[in-house]
């Protein structure tokens, strides 16, 4: 073939493509240029349900991400839980006010010794397919969640109090004797100690009910169209594109007011799409917060902020010099002005922490327990330290892409340098490396956070500061604190229990194992057509309370 002919062919193909693309663009632009290219009535180019970005009555449009998994028994992240609590349910649930109320159970009864919980299931508790939920379903679900093969990261944390769960998880025994089927509608759960917070753990997805028939017939892929018991059914899941939930009119606690919730998983900045009327709710980031807070802006009237049960903190590894010395930790804490730094770097989007328990948590103390900003006291505190003349190098680690440190961290470094004369270095690593170092106890100090899983002080004070807890990643050990935490764990009088936790909290904050930095707020804008929107402080089922009117 002659070179010219071949090239001519190549070129004409190229030219053809260009003409097609260019010509069509011109046509489009001439036609008024735009996104509104609708077909004749009845013909849509998308699949079922029409264009998800178009508003419709009873349809709520949210942004979202693909969940890691929709299997309630293995999910451990908040974004998966958001979907799971709407699709599935368990014996008990949390209300928007964080009260624990029966869900699939119609009532429950705790034995006088606090060890045995007896649940009676509702007669009308059904899966989405209409099948009745029985006591066998409860037992099978808990045994599955705690099974050796499933190797769930959350099983021991949420179900480990039940007699036999640990042995079952490690494959030493088969079955969980602590869960007994009394009759078709009655199930009895026995735990290893009278722990008042056990009921709260049952509101977490690890304790939810799944459909045995579905899971066994399709163990690998059943979560693509799961048969749950929650207020919504998963109607569609297109990876990276959208998730559609449809109301379950049979839900035991009442049918949702919405007919459909569409989560749009791609499409760029949520706030921009909100302003373009593609979304009904969007989060506001620090870049847009001034605009949202301005009452005269278009966003102003739509903006609200909601406190979250989330704390960020600087963790000091109390095993490693110089943080094995309480005076160094306290000195660093006294030398930072969190209120001012939060105002400047985060435009007050975060509330400076007043302790470890967030406002609204049981046991929250309204007085500020944290170390105040006091440069003189900081210097005096440091003088008490055995490292005062011989400060080892300090590295604070955080997750990042190797660029600048977090702006607030930079401000802390500056205050430590000018007030205490201590030069602290920042080390940024990617998330996986950070976690590996953290798990291995290799980090000296690090930026971290904690999101409450259930509204009980045990979920943070005991888990993070008891010397025997595997989640105590600062190796904090104080026999006095341990004794308080042990006592609070099984204290049956609620008031005495909370005051024990408060005492422990005061000690922990005072010894500065953590430097509590901020409590988070959720900043959102909501379209006026949406009524009842709220941002609960932690993940709870909420979509059934929301309404959309157009």
């Amino acid at each position: 073939m002659s070179q010219n002919r071949l090239l001519a062919i190549l070129l004409s193909v190229l030219a053809g493509l260009v003409l097609v693309v260019g010509g069509l663009s011109a046509v489009l632009l001439l036609s008024g240029g735009g996104g509104d290219t609708t077909g004749p009535d009845g013909i849509t180019t998308t699949g079922s349900g029409g264009n998800p970005t178009q508003p419709a009555s009873g349809r709520l449009r949210l942004s979202g991400t693909d969940p890691v998994t929709l299997d309630p028994h293995t999910a451990g992240d908040a974004s998966s839980a958001e979907y799971i609590v709407e699709i599935f349910s368990g014996l008990v649930t949390l209300t928007p006010d964080l009260d624990i109320v029966p869900d699939l159970a119609e009532s429950f009864d705790v034995s006088p010794d606090g060890l045995t919980y007896t649940f009676v299931l509702r007669e009308n508790a059904t899966f989405h397919t209409g099948r009745r939920v029985t006591a066998d379903d409860i037992k099978w679900s808990i045994e599955r969640a705690a099974s050796r093969e499933l190797a769930s990261p959350t099983a021991l944390a949420y179900l480990g109090d039940i007699i036999g769960v640990r042995e079952h998880f490690h494959g030493i025994a088969d079955g969980v004797p602590g869960v007994e089927v009394v009759d078709e509608r009655t199930v009895r759960i026995t735990i290893d100690a009278p722990k008042p917070y056990f009921l709260a753990k049952l509101t977490y997805p690890t304790a939810f009910v799944v459909d045995r028939q579905q899971v066994e017939s399709n163990p690998r892929n059943w979560t693509r169209r799961p048969n749950g018991t929650g207020a919504f059914k998963l109607a569609e899941w297109r990876l990276g594109e959208r998730i559609v939930l449809q109301a379950n009119a049979q839900y035991v606690l009442g049918a949702p007011k919405l007919s459909e919730v569409v989560y749009l998983l791609s499409g760029g900045s949520a706030l921009t799409r909100f302003e373009n009327d593609e979304l009904d709710v969007a989060f506001v980031s620090v870049n847009d917060i001034d605009r949202a807070r301005d009452p005269s802006s278009t966003l102003g009237p739509l903006y609200t902020a909601w406190p979250q049960f989330t704390i960020s903190y600087i963790a000091f590894n109390t095993n490693v010099p110089p943080f094995d010395d309480v005076h160094v930790r306290r000195a660093l804490g006294l030398a930072i002005d969190r209120a001012r730094i939060s105002e400047i770097t985060f435009s007050n989007m975060l509330t400076p922490a007043t302790g470890i328990l967030m406002p609204g948590m049981p046991g929250y103390q309204s007085e500020d327990l944290t170390l105040p900003f006091d440069p003189e006291a900081a210097v005096a505190e440091l003088a008490l330290s055995r490292y005062v003349d011989d400060m080892p190098p300090i590295i604070i680690s955080e997750v990042g892409a190797g660029a600048e440190a977090r702006t607030d961290t930079q401000a802390f470094l500056e205050q430590w340098r000018t007030i205490l004369g201590i030069n602290v270095e920042v080390q940024q690593t990617d998330f996986a490396t950070f976690l590996a170092d953290q798990d291995a106890g290799r980090l000296q100090a690090f930026n971290a956070g904690w999101i409450m899983d259930y509204p009980d002080p045990e979920d943070i004070l005991d888990l993070k500061f008891h010397s025997a807890s595997t989640l105590n990643d600062v190796s904090y050990s104080n026999p006095e604190v341990d004794a308080l935490l042990d006592r609070a764990r099984i204290e049956r009088d609620p008031a005495a229990r909370l005051s024990t936790y408060q005492e422990a909290e005061r000690l922990i904050v005072d010894e500065a194992a953590w430097l509590p930095l901020y409590f988070s707020l959720s900043h959102v804008v909501v379209q006026p057509q949406v009524t009842g929107w709220f941002e609960p402080p932690m993940v709870v089922p909420r979509l059934r309370f929301i309404e959309v009117s157009r």
């Binding site: 073939m1 070179q3 010219n4 071949l6 090239l7 001519a8 070129l11 190229l14 030219a15 493509l17 260009v18 663009s25 046509v27 489009l28 240029g33 735009g34 996104g35 290219t37 077909g39 004749p40 693909d66 890691v68 998994t69 299997d71 293995t74 451990g76 992240d77 050796r148 190797a151 990261p153 099983a155 021991l156 944390a157 998880f169 490690h170 892929n221 979560t223 693509r224 990876l239 990276g240 594109e241 791609s266 499409g267 760029g268 900045s269 921009t272 799409r273 302003e275 373009n276 690593t429 990617d430 998330f431 996986a432 976690l435 798990d439 999101i451 899983d453 595997t470 989640l471 990643d473």
Partner: protein, 327 residues
């Protein structure tokens, strides 16, 4: 020739073996693992170890690799830790397809605009037109995509309301004439990413074509063509144009391979569900099987497109004899 192709393709499994084994090993030597990343804030070391045992991550690397290889040969590329319940193929191919479509359209436009501009620059070499064209294109290339996209969104989506803010809905949309005749038109989601993709790309093609055209312009046959009295148009289109495009063929091979990988920034900023963004997340969270599968697929595409480019070159330019000393 066919023997050459067979011989080249026979190397493919060897290349893939080396690529997959080294990726597999390197990924596992990196700090952290997907179990730890997927665990969330409840990180009981005892439980994490239990999960590693259950997933076989405690076994020696060669053993793990052989298991992966056995499955891969049967078409099972493994499972993702970040998107549980889906096979790696289900996660990768749809996203790759999106990135590939976008990349292909972008490539066509880059060539369609870059080539003529390069030829014009060469034709007017020595005048102000040449540096103006190349300078403008260099300027466009110098605008980072991160800076380019936000004003485009602001103008076309928020102010003019012509285009959506982001996302992806295929290359073509349908435009109805009188509600009866369907005409395919470019989907409105396409414009902003295309502008972002193509603007920085023109200069590469234009400069290559320009240099090559200048070189061809000095060659004997062009002088002969001019000497025998051919019109300037005929010289430009019959002699200079085809011959100055030759070097582009080699570029196409590389370009094709790289565009499939998508553009991380474009996909992230515009919320396009493509492979670039997905792979970035997979790497930072040590999603072993996803990283591995993507590496193997990209290697295959790279090898094959380069082979095709070589073959094309041989076809187009007889001076390049491929695979055989006789012809």
């Amino acid at each position: 020739m066919s023997a050459y192709i067979v011989r080249r393709l026979a190397w493919l499994p060897v290349i893939l073996f080396v690529v997959s084994f080294s990726t597999f090993t390197i990924a596992r030597f990196g700090p952290g693992d997907p179990v730890s990343v997927a665990a969330g804030q409840i990180r009981d070391p005892e439980v994490l170890e239990r999960i590693r045992v259950e997933r076989g991550l405690d076994r020696p690397i060669p053993v793990q690799y052989i298991k992966w290889l056995t499955n891969a040969v049967q078409g099972d590329l493994g499972e993702s830790y970040l998107q549980q319940g889906f096979s790696v193929s289900e996660l990768i191919f749809p996203r790759m397809w999106i990135s590939a479509q976008l990349g292909f359209v972008a490539l066509v436009i880059v060539f369609a605009i870059g080539i003529p501009l390069g030829l014009i620059a060469a034709r007017f070499s020595g005048t102000w037109i040449d540096p103006m064209i190349i300078g403008t294109l260099l300027f466009l290339q110098a605008i980072p995509v991160l800076v380019l996209i936000p004003p485009l969104i602001w103008l076309f989506a928020l102010q003019l309301n012509w285009l959506p803010v982001g996302g992806w809905d295929g290359i073509f949309d349908v435009w109805w004439i009188g509600g009866v005749i369907a005409v395919p038109i470019p989907d409105p989601h396409l414009y902003i990413p295309l502008i972002a993709f193509t603007l920085p790309g023109f200069v590469g093609v234009a400069r290559l074509v320009r240099v090559s055209a200048l070189e061809v312009n000095l060659s004997d046959y062009v002088r002969t063509a001019r000497a025998k009295g051919l019109s300037e148009a005929a010289v430009q289109f019959r002699h200079i144009l085809p011959n100055s495009l030759l070097p582009l063929i080699t570029v196409v091979g590389f370009a094709l391979a790289s565009i499939i990988e998508g553009a991380l920034f474009v996909e992230t900023l515009l919320g396009i569900n493509g492979i670039g963004r997905f792979l970035f997340e997979a790497v930072t969270s040590r999603d072993y099987d996803v990283i591995l599968a993507a590496t193997v697929i990209f290697s295959t595409v790279f090898v094959v497109t380069n082979l095709l480019a070589e073959l094309c070159y041989g076809l187009v330019d007889p001076r390049v004899r491929i695979g055989s000393t006789r012809r």
